[in-house]
Amino acid sequence: METVLDQEKISFLQQKAAETRALIIKTVHHAGAGHIGGPLSATDLLISLYYEVMNVRPEEPQWEDRDRFVLSKGHSAIALYAVLAQKGYYPLEELYTFDAIDSRLQAHPDMNILPGLDMSTGSLGQGISTAVGMALGAKLTGKTFTTYCMIGDGESQEGQVWEAADAAVRYGLDNLVVIMDYNKLQQYGWEGSDGRERAVPVPSPEKKWEAFGWNVMEIDGHHFGQILTACSQAKATKGKPTVLIAHTVKGKGVSFMENAYLWHSRVPTDDELNSALQELGVEV
């Protein structure tokens, strides 16, 4: 599955993604706290949503017909903040207040203080239920917006995720698209097998979602063509909600962070920051 995108657009998205990853790493380094691995695995998906897929107006964040986005895996907030800043929801320099007292950029998203956030999240498994409510609310009020929700694979150990999965099918929420950032690592998890350092948090998610009655698509979560094609197919699917199982790499973009569970929430040293920025090939 792949859309043939013009090379210019792909180059633009790739450049944006590299800049976003650099911002994420620099911000966490500056704050001396935060998550790295999950935000980097989610970056290409978020860039796709905010630059190509979602119908939003950064200059009018509360526009009532906007598409909604819920970051259920709230600890990847820094990735969302970096994207929102670049889209103009708030000043880019404010990114460096992340995790500071009185900052609008809380460690986990707070919808009441930062423009562009459709839901407060952080305690895992909860965002998806709120996305179900938004999509249901759209149906009840005759609104045509789509609700997008990103969940983590580790997060999917929460029972509430599956309560939400069931409810979404019962109400036929074809205006809901869940994107699983399937990076196959959680904060600590279980010891792995078959040569993997850690076990997969939720094995065979595609079968689980399918068993709940969802329209399931598996994609490469770092391939813009696949992401955009899947999003447009999801929107065209009627009668049931769609989940995109997006295969991703935790720590994507920086070789020494990739697939290393300890980079879930490590803060880079000065040297690590420089190496990471060099690898990403951007200075922002």
Binding site: N112, S120, S123, S129, T130, L136, G137, Q160
Partner: protein, 320 residues
């Protein structure tokens, strides 16, 4: 539905179902969310008479609360209804993160609160819900005393933008609130004047406090009765005035003595006007199944126990 007039036994849940039905008809924003207990809570009135406003969320309270939060962001006013035990405890984190912290316009209905839940025993009783809900920032906590007051607090909650928890009881109770009553958030209601001791009740225990005051009067003790429908915010002035006027207080609640009305009143007293005070509530015990009267006796929250505690606090006041 029975006539709501003083002395009549009327069930809060009948009035709850009827009132929510009316709200759902008159206001397009109002939706009733059910955790599969509609025929117990009487939410089935909405399901049967205004089906498009009834959303069955199944036996999945955590998702129900999150979905309610999502509905509120779209401009709707969801009323999420279940037993108090499940609303306040099973979905506590969900309430805090997606309802209370973002101050969303979600109404939470804790039916079958307290000890008297129809022989269902400790898993279905809620003796901690006031303590839990009142500890959440932005949450309004209300416990009406009778069926007539249920209508008042529901109309308040409907007009108030933001999270409200309403604690309801299962069984019919005598109507005690005055005919000309109107609810004001954060205001206590003086049901009876007295000079020796003030009995402060909330929810179902206001009726028993009122009965206890009559029994005390027969023994020559003048007990004032104050009803506290709004536990958060609480009426500090009324508590301080009561302490000054009678010099002794007894709190009465169908709840644990920890964290509920007794704790809230004690906090005000200690900070502003310390006088002798005793609490009638469930004293650090898990409960069990059983008929109402037996439960009230065993867990020491009956009218007789209120009388006993009132006499004890008077002895303390007299320095004996």
């Amino acid at each position: 539905m029975q006539t709501i007039q003083n002395g009549n036994l009327v069930s809060m849940r009948d009035v709850f179902g009827e009132t929510l039905l009316q709200l759902s008809i008159s206001d397009p924003r109002v939706y009733a969310l059910d955790g599969d207990l509609a025929n117990s809570t009487k939410l089935n009135l909405v399901a049967e008479k205004n089906a498009s406003k009834f959303l069955q969320m199944g036996i999945a309270e955590q998702n129900m609360i999150g979905a309610a939060a999502g509905l509120a962001t779209v401009g709707l006013q969801p009323w999420a209804c279940s037993f108090a035990a499940f609303i306040a405890k099973r979905s506590l984190d969900q309430i805090q993160v997606t309802v209370a912290q973002p101050k969303l316009d979600v109404k939470l209905i804790g039916a079958y609160s307290g000890l008297l839940t129809g022989c269902t025993g400790k898993t279905h009783q809620a003796l901690e819900d006031i303590a839990i809900m009142r500890s959440l920032a932005n949450m309004v906590v209300l416990a009406p005393a009778d069926a007539s007051e249920v209508q008042h607090v529901m109309r308040f909650a409907h007009e108030h933008t933001g999270p409200v928890y309403i604690r309801l009881a299962r069984d019919p109770l005598p109507v005690v609130m005055p005919q000309d009553y109107s609810f004001t958030l954060g205001k206590a209601v003086e049901l009876k004047q007295g000079s020796d001791v003030t009995l402060i009740g909330t929810g179902t225990q206001t009726v028993r406090a009122w009965e206890a005051a009559d029994l005390l009067e027969q023994e020559g003790i003048s007990a004032a009765v104050l009803h506290m429908p709004s536990i958060k915010p609480i009426d500090r002035d009324a508590i301080i005035d009561a302490a000054k006027q009678t010099g002794a207080l007894v709190t009465c609640e169908e709840h644990s003595i920890y964290g509920g009305l007794g704790s809230a009143v004690a906090e005000v007293l200690v900070e502003h006007c310390p006088v002798p005070m005793l609490r009638v509530g469930v004293n650090d015990k898990n409960s069990e199944s059983g008929p109402n009267d037996a439960l009230l006796q065993k867990y020491e929250i009956s009218t007789g126990h209120i009388v006993k505690r009132a006499k004890e606090v008077l002895r303390i006041k007299a320095g004996k």
